[in-house]
Symmetry: C2
């Protein structure tokens, strides 16, 4: 692209480093910001700098938090004996949005992926074992993605936790609600038949 | 969305004010920034603040510029008697990318649009008339969008400039290169027949 200004080029380059943002989109976003009042642009950049500077990770569950311990871990309404293990903050938000889960979380910060050079020691797994050892945990739910990395991580954590006196479960896999059988992939369909559940309300 | 952190929520809200960025995309971008080193995040926000603070508009053509007069207007290689009138910086960049135009520009900063409350006085039109009066302009090319706003603006500028001794032209409209006749809309097709050009290389 032919920029008429180094400042513009610089800002566009910074924006196009973001995932899924190409040069054209970056230019559109930057020109939009340029057309906004200075206070708005200041608020925008301030929000990012403050986030990066002040954000903390909950020392119990590892989730993003404003304080030393996150809101979920401090809430008296939450069942501390039920721990849901997830990959990252987005998964916490997705589960919170269901309004159906009242336990606490443990955020791994990734999945075991030898291809990307991520081993168990890079993840928040040791503190999880410590947590299972020191606090009265009754059940651990492994809510990880149904990918090879997810399955590897599930297996690793299972081996680490299997000698503790707590139940270990994974979320159910099968045909999604609204999903049509004819379009389901073979693995999902075969698994959902094999793990069929008794019917009756 | 259920945010576990006010800082995160704030940053996501700021990002989702950008055009075409919803809450989910905003969250993805913010979490990506959060995973980057502090210097990179600093450079990102700095680039926006500096752009907003230091950017100027060329006092001749109105284009975005680092200096008082932009690179195109100062270039001795450019034909100053040929002015291409465009809506905004993006159009300048699009035309520059063709590498086929060697005149200068005049950036209006928008199009006349009574629906959006944009009249001629909000645009960079008066300086254009002044420019045509005081400098030796031979031709003015109106390269505005083929929309109602574009046509209105073209007509307004034509009326303002028609008594000056310079040629006034608009860019050619017709079937795009690679465009198939059967998929062209009726107006474009009818116009491209009416304004047919003699063939012969």
């Amino acid at each position: 692209m032919n920029f008429s200004s180094r400042l513009l080029e610089n800002a566009v380059n910074e924006f196009s480093k973001l995932p899924g943002i190409g040069q054209k989109t970056a230019l559109r976003l930057v020109l939009h910001l340029l057309s906004q009042p200075s206070e708005d642009v200041g608020r925008f950049s301030e929000s990012i700098v403050r986030l990066k500077k002040e954000i903390r990770f909950c020392k119990i569950c590892g989730n993003i938090s404003d304080a030393e311990v996150c809101e979920i871990c401090t809430s008296p309404k939450r069942d501390k004996t039920l721990i849901c293990i997830v990959e990252d903050t987005r998964d916490v938000m997705a589960i919170e949005n269901t309004n159906q889960y009242f336990g606490v979380y443990h955020v791994l910060g990734g999945l075991i992926s030898p291809m990307d050079g991520v081993g168990p020691s890079e993840l928040n797994i040791e503190p999880l074992v410590e947590r299972a050892r020191t606090s009265p945990v009754q059940e651990v739910i492994l809510a990880l993605s149904a990918t090879m990395e997810g399955d590897t991580t599930i297996f690793y954590i299972y081996k680490k936790l299997k000698d503790f006196p707590c139940k270990i479960s994974t979320i159910a896999r099968g045909i999604a609600f609204g999903g049509e059988i004819e379009y389901a992939d073979e693995i999902t369909l075969a698994r959902s038949i094999a793990t069929r559940v008794p019917y009756g309300v």
